[in-house]
């Protein structure tokens, strides 16, 4: 009833090509954006903004990056956190060493450096495929982290290895409040998400998916293998690099290698899988799920221990978290291997018919 498309005819291909061809979707998106940009900073409390929403956005961006490489282009990568680390450290160094560099510029430099490394570590993908490639990307993860740790230039010769990210200043305004950092992150993520959507529905996106689905056929119809695969690595690493910079500057406040371990790479891979391979929306849904899940679990455990008056030790709780988390992943993969994005699609299709059953 609410979600009917009737009466909405597309008379040009331009109309058909829109990101949100259904008018209700456009309205919903507009409302969401207004809510996110205007309402949330006003009503959001500091804790939620800085500990939950901002990291969700940052990780969603990283998930987007990995989705471009693994979901769209089919190149499995386990080195996401390493690219984020490069982005963070190079942004830090750009802020430090280039006088008068605006923060966005530093982020871009971080992204570009990550992209450059991404191209180098993407070269093996021209020869190696599948799980072999995935394990090879682990080489990137370990080597990059080791280099950042060992080469003092990265951390500006700091003895403790933990450096504080610089204060962010945009056009003279200090961006230090949770709301400020949230808005900056939101703006960057929104713009990059739009760019990603545009890219994936153009020839680049199609070329990526062709390489993913059947690379022999792709090269037969003229798609250049090397250029396409390396471009996928470059763009994906750029996104992860910017995400890493945001992670350090707008969330953690510090720039340290320990924040970018293999664990993070796996977390982001989970977000891609659970959210939906090859879906921009899925990246956000997956990131939301994985970010919010531990919180729900904790709250649930608290409630359970009050309701049943049992004592749950924190060690037990964290082990239970592991078990439930792992179980949920398996459950998800069994029930809907195409992820939350597919569930969302199904929900929308049901909504179009609502309140009729079929």
């Amino acid at each position: 009833m609410l979600y009917r498309e009737s009466g909405q005819f597309k008379s040009t291909y331009a109309e058909d090509q829109q990101i949100f061809p259904i008018r209700q979707d456009r309205i919903a998106m507009a409302v969401l954006l207004v809510f996110a940009f205007v309402v949330v900073p006003l009503i959001g409390n500091g804790y939620w903004l800085s500990a939950i929403i901002t990291p969700f956005l940052v990780l969603a961006l990283a998930t987007l990056g990995l989705n471009i490489l693994t979901g769209y282009a089919g190149q499995l990568s386990l080195g996401t956190a390493a690219f984020m680390a490069i982005g963070a450290f190079m942004a830090y160094n750009a802020e430090l060493r280039i006088p008068g560099m605006p923060i966005i510029g530093s982020f871009i430099i971080g992204g570009l450096c990550a992209a450059a490394v991404g191209i180098v570590f993407g070269l093996p993908s021209l020869r190696i495929k599948g799980f072999y490639l995935a394990v090879a990307t682990l080489a990137c993860q370990f080597f990059v982290l080791w280099t950042i740790n060992r080469v003092p230039w990265f951390s500006n010769n700091s003895t403790s290895g933990v450096i504080t990210a610089q204060k962010i200043e945009i056009l003279g305004y200090d961006v230090t409040t949770p709301a400020g950092k949230y808005l900056l992150t939101l703006a960057v993520v929104a713009v990059m998400a739009l760019a990603a959507k545009n890219l994936m529905r153009s020839e680049t996106g199609r070329a990526f998916m062709a390489v993913r689905d059947m690379d022999v056929a792709a090269s037969v119809i003229g798609i250049p293998m090397m250029r396409t695969k390396l471009l996928a690595f470059a763009i994906s690493s750029f996104y992860c690099g910017v995400a890493g910079a945001l992670y350090a500057f707008c969330y953690l406040g510090t720039v340290e290698p320990e924040a970018f371990t293999l664990d993070l790479s796996f977390r982001i891979l989970f977000m891609v899988i659970i959210g939906g391979i090859g879906s921009i929306l899925g990246s956000f849904l997956g990131a939301a799920f994985i970010t919010l899940f531990p919180i729900f679990l904790n709250r649930g455990a608290e409630w359970a221990s009050h309701a049943f008056a049992i004592e749950i030790r924190s060690a037990t709780l964290s082990n239970m978290e592991f078990i439930i988390f792992g179980g949920l992943i398996i459950f998800f993969l069994i029930v809907e291997p195409n992820g939350l994005a597919r569930l969302w699609q199904i929900a929308k299709e049901k909504l179009r018919l609502w309140p009729f059953p079929h």
Binding site: I128, L138, A139, V220, M320, I323, G326, L333
Partner: protein, 299 residues
């Protein structure tokens, strides 16, 4: 050039490599027989070792504890088959891979939930000391324990190789790895096969866990041993048992050599990535590893 020292380093590296191979064997078994890249192998090693050592500490007899743990690993195989593999039959490999990562979390949490998270030491009766006559005669230090581990690994590999190539079940396992549907079509009982495979892999995990447990203690970091085995798989090929051994030897030796000779020049700690880079370079020359099967895309 101190040749005695060099020999010691190489020998030590080779033997360390054998330890990697032990873990890699578990991966190969499962991949060979079900096409699944079982990321949970490391967690299985941890689970097996922790169970074994906890039983020992509760006063169980060595062989009883060993048997009980082995049975437990087979039971684990049954549960995994029923709860994870059966519902996911015919899904693409990446889905199964992700499921094994989920499995890793479950096993890690379960292990510590059952047995607690303190580290345990493990003794198998063979001391980790240099062999007397070698060190006295030629000034070369090679650990007795390392040699014992190598012997055990060799024995295990020999048994498994015979099993795969000479028995009916072994043949069935190879058929299943190739094509689930086809194997079903010729009447191979998929479920039984998988239970056998995961059970055997679990047993291999137990042996590997025991060896590594003596070396490093039985603690959470044991799960990371799996990460060390991955470069071995890259070099040896995911489907090859001899490849796992050869790959292990190569990785072990080169890693030790790099650690000792190159490490000090660049500030140490290169063990974290050196094995991977070696494997990567190797792959560029042979994209399927030494003995991996070449995949030919028919168009």
């Amino acid at each position: 050039m101190d040749f005695a020292f060099l020999f010691e380093v190489v020998a030590g590296g080779l033997l360390a490599g054998v330890m990697y191979s032990l873990v890699a064997l578990g991966f190969v078994l499962i991949y060979k027989a079900s096409g699944v890249f079982n990321f949970a192998q490391g967690a299985m090693v941890f689970f097996a070792a922790l169970t074994f050592v906890s039983l020992l500490e509760r006063g169980w007899n060595f062989w009883l504890a060993f048997l009980a743990t082995a049975v437990l690993m087979v039971l684990l195989g049954v549960v995994i088959e029923r709860a994870v593999l059966r519902p996911l039959v015919n899904q693409p490999p990446i889905t199964l891979f992700m499921a094994t990562i989920g499995l890793t979390f479950v096993l890690e949490g379960l292990s510590q939930l059952l047995w607690g998270s303190q580290p345990h030491g493990l003794e198998l009766g063979i001391p980790d000391v240099p062999m007397e006559w070698l060190s006295q005669k030629w000034n070369i230090n090679i650990s007795q324990f390392d040699l014992f581990a190598a012997f055990v690994a060799g024995l295990l590999v020999a048994v498994l190789a015979v099993f795969f190539h000479k028995t009916r079940i072994g043949r069935a396992l190879r058929a299943v790895a190739d094509d689930h549907q086809a194997a079903l079509a010729v009447g191979i009982p998929l479920q039984h096969i998988w239970i056998i495979v995961w059970g055997v892999a679990g047993f291999v995990a137990l042996v590997a866990g025991m060896m590594w447990g003596v070396r490093n203690g039985v603690q959470f970091s044991l799960t990371f041993v799996a990460l060390k085995a991955l470069p071995v798989l890259l070099i040896g090929g995911f489907e090859s048992i001899p490849g796992a051994i050869l790959g292990g030897l190569i990785i072990g030796a080169t890693e030790k050599l790099a650690e000792v000779y190159i490490g000090p020049m660049v500030g140490g700690g290169i063990e974290s990535w050196f094995a991977y880079v070696v494997a990567l370079l190797f792959l560029l020359v042979r994209p399927e590893g030494l003995f991996g099967e070449k995949h030919i895309d028919r168009v």
